[in-house]
């Protein structure tokens, strides 16, 4: 049977994509899943310790302690904290660069594209300056000042950003973070050889990292980007491989740092750039969105209509995007830029430029981003795109997939645009929830992976199951890339919702799955939750709100998850993080956490059982609010 198909690829919820990939002559992640299917059980359970040369030590029934004496609990907690610290570091790097860019914008008196957000943040931070550039400069300084504090000095904006009742709880638990970068540093130091061996201390450190990651790396990055790149505006747009038009010089961007592209986007929109493209026979320039930075571009697509083609897909779609042959240049700046794109880029003669050495790709040229020299960088990118287009177009085969993706995806959803859509208040949404028209809210967020039943399979199936039960789904991260490409983020998806939710969606002409964009926008979901909680006068854990990161992939997702737990939310994962080797760590995260923050981890690899569990929690929370 398998010999009849061209090759074995992992299943995807996106069947058009998997057909496209199955027909490719290049290898992708979807092909490699098979040869990597044997997993190390010690790794899966988190009980392998490689911290010193006595190891690697592994816990087995006959060797319950490492050579140093570390128990399974200690080894698991150390490994987990290391992962959360690394994940936090990734997001803190992103917000640091966004703040640097805001400071540079203030210095150069560039265009402030989101003045409303600037005013909001300035007011929140208690900045008195009248001049917008002074305001921007001071906002950036406050953020950078906090990020660079030592760990023994608490960050100051936490008090301004956090929801009141949460802040109190965090204070009680003594998990208010010191300087965000220092907390990452401490997390790594704690876990070094024979330092911290207390699993509980290390788990509390994870919560502290969760707070700094969530409030700064997630929430603030969005808001700073709103100032730099424009606030999201709700609109409909096409998504998937169909957005690629071979007539243009196509630049695919991957990563997470949208603020690094502000200047490039502005330059590409100029007539000067367009005429350079026309001079070589192209219709102009197009940015092809891929991974989370593509999601962020799409969110703000309203402001970049002439040069942003649309979002092609999530991390595990990027190899397919490149394999169309229609991409002329890849500009990468952060993670989710799969090493797997490198040989495909070579095959299709695609030039790769990396603009952040933290994410240097093996075959990319590095042009280190610096706000001071950003004009040179934009020119370098444009010139290379033109050169690459001229060099390769006559020599490569182009293979498009016009049927892939969807047309009327609703995008541009943010805490502000959604509130505005509802008439400037959360009242209509709260009333729909109270009346039972919407049973509750599920944030289906995080990454995509190829193992939880296949590419986006768990994410899509769970989402369908939830909306059928009248639970509205908000999505941010690679999950949204998968959900939009299979049509769940278009108004027509209302037909898949339960009767009550369907009625709501049809009346408002909205899909039952709302697209908040990149994983960074998990911070926007937190703002939505806090604002609704405030409207109701309750704390976040009381809301009929659940989180699921069914197909979480990497360390950053663990830092996001730590934020979710700190917020007091139930958080489902289909694949356990490497914690199950420790009964203690597993119990703290799945049970005892409720007594600390109100949150807890739910590990379940069955779609229906997950939906049952999440629905039960929502119903119980409704009862708690007197709604049932």
């Amino acid at each position: 049977m398998s010999e009849l198909t061209t090759c074995a690829v992992c299943p995807s919820a996106d069947t058009i994509l998997s057909q496209f990939i199955a027909g490719l002559e290049v290898e992708t992640s979807h092909h490699r899943v098979e040869s990597q299917k044997v997993k190390c059980g010690f790794g899966l359970q988190g009980v392998c310790c490689r911290l010193c040369t006595n190891g690697p030590c592994r816990i087995t029934p006959t060797s319950p302690r490492g050579v140093c004496g570390a128990s399974a609990d200690t080894i698991v907690a150390r490994n987990f904290l290391r992962a959360v610290a690394a994940g936090s570091g990734c997001y803190i790097h992103v917000v640091e660069n966004a703040a640097r860019n805001l400071k540079a914008l203030a210095a150069s008196h560039g265009e402030i594209k989101g003045p409303a957000t600037l005013d909001k943040l300035a007011a929140l931070f208690g900045i008195a300056a009248e001049d917008p550039y002074q305001k921007a400069d001071q906002v950036a300084d406050r953020v950078l000042g906090d990020l660079h504090r030592p760990s023994y000095e608490k960050m100051r904006l936490v008090e301004k950003l956090a929801y009141g009742p949460r802040l109190e709880q965090w204070r009680k638990l003594n998990i208010l973070p010191g300087g965000a970068k220092s907390e990452v540093f401490d997390g790594v130091v704690k876990t070094s050889t024979n330092l911290n061996s207390d699993p509980l201390d290390m788990l509390l450190h994870c919560l502290r990292l969760g707070i700094s990651t969530g409030l700064y790396g997630l929430t603030l990055t969005n808001l700073l980007n709103d100032i730099l790149l424009g606030e999201p505006v709700i609109r409909q747009a096409p998504v998937g491989l169909r957005v690629i038009d071979t007539g243009f010089v196509n630049i695919m961007i991957t990563g997470h740092q949208h603020s690094m592209f502000a200047d490039l986007q502005a330059k590409l929109q100029t007539e000067a750039a367009a005429s350079r493209a026309r001079a070589i026979g192209a219709k102009g320039f197009r940015l092809i969105g891929c991974t989370c930075v593509g999601q962020d571009l799409q969110l703000r697509g309203e402001h970049y209509q002439t040069i942003f083609a649309g979002h092609a897909g999530n991390n595990f779609t990027s190899e397919a995007v490149l394999a169309t042959g229609a991409i002329d240049l890849v500009v990468s700046e952060f993670n989710c830029t799969l090493p797997g794109i490198e040989p495909i880029a070579a095959e299709f003669m695609v030039r790769m430029i990396c603009i952040d050495d933290l994410a240097k790709k093996a075959n990319a040229d590095l042009f280190q981003y610096d706000p001071e020299t950003v004009a040179d960088l934009s020119e370098y990118i444009i010139a290379n795109a033109i050169q690459s287009y001229q060099k390769r177009r006559s020599k490569v085969n182009i293979r498009l997939a016009d049927s892939h993706g969807d047309d009327g995806v609703v995008t541009g959803v943010s805490e502000s645009s959604l509130r505005d859509f509802l008439g400037g208040t959360w009242k209509p949404l709260v009333e729909l929830i109270a009346a039972g028209k919407i049973k509750g809210i599920a944030g289906v967020v995080g990454c995509s992976n190829l193992t939880a039943k296949g590419h986006d399979v768990f994410t899509v199936e769970l989402t369908k199951e939830l909306i059928q039960r009248d639970i509205i789904v908000l999505s941010a991260g690679c999950t949204s890339g998968g959900l939009e490409n299979v049509g769940l983020m278009s108004p027509k998806a209302a037909a898949l919702a339960g009767d009550n939710l369907r009625e709501v969606c049809e009346a408002l002409n909205i899909p039952p799955v709302l697209n908040f964009g990149p994983c960074l926008a998990i911070g926007r979901l937190e703002l939505v939750a806090a604002e609704i909680a405030q409207f109701l006068g309750v704390d976040i854990p009381q809301l009929p709100l659940v989180l699921s990161a069914p197909q979480w992939l990497e360390e950053q997702a663990l830092a996001d998850g730590a934020f979710g737990l700190a917020l007091g939310l139930p958080l489902h994962l289909a694949i356990p993080p490497a914690i199950t080797g420790s009964e203690l760590v597993t119990r703290v995260l799945t049970e005892d956490m409720v007594g600390l923050t109100g949150g807890r981890l739910i590990l379940e690899d069955d779609v229906i059982k997950t939906a049952d569990l999440l629905e039960e929690i929502i119903v119980a929370k409704r009862r708690g609010l007197g709604l049932e």
Binding site: C40, V47, I59, P61, A72, E583
Partner: protein, 150 residues
């Protein structure tokens, strides 16, 4: 009938085969995530020893053609099915004399660690087409081959 073959040169001692065996025989469930690695009642039927030069050496039940364990067993707890060639242990008939343990030329049989009452014995994973240890060896250091009857 099928036999597990061993290519010692390919083994790097990851113990994935042992974990697979424990998970497959875990009464709490077969998922790796529910395997309690600190409970001595979870035992592997195979193991990896180091040879004189420190090279990892996978040790597996051979399901021998003329099994010493069956010959030594006086209570009939060990039997060999001539059709499948599998050597099977029947705990209800076992007198716990451990003669099988003493007589196994590969040192593969052992008494259970917690109680020392029953023998821990490879059952070729029962109904499974491929034993889980074989399936979980990333290096193909152990693999299945079809062998002819005697």
């Amino acid at each position: 009938m099928k036999r597990i073959m061993i290519d010692k040169d390919r083994c790097n001692g990851c113990l994935n085969c042992s974990l697979a065996c424990m998970a497959e025989h875990n009464p709490a469930g077969k998922s790796i995530y529910v395997l309690n690695l600190t409970d001595i009642r979870n035992e592997s039927r195979n193991f990896i020893a180091l040879d004189r030069s420190g090279k990892p050496t996978p040790i597996f039940c051979r399901h021998c053609g003329e099994p010493e364990c069956v010959i030594a067993c006086m209570s009939g707890a060990m039997s060999r099915d001539p059709a499948t060639g599998r050597v099977t242990y029947h705990p209800e008939q076992c007198a716990a004399c451990f003669m099988c343990v003493l007589s196994c030329p590969f040192g593969v049989l052992k008494a259970d660690t917690a109680e020392r009452k029953v023998i821990i014995k490879c059952d070729f994973c029962g109904e499974r087409e491929t034993p889980r240890c074989v399936e979980n060896c990333p290096n193909r250091a152990i693999y299945l081959i079809e062998v002819s009857e005697e």
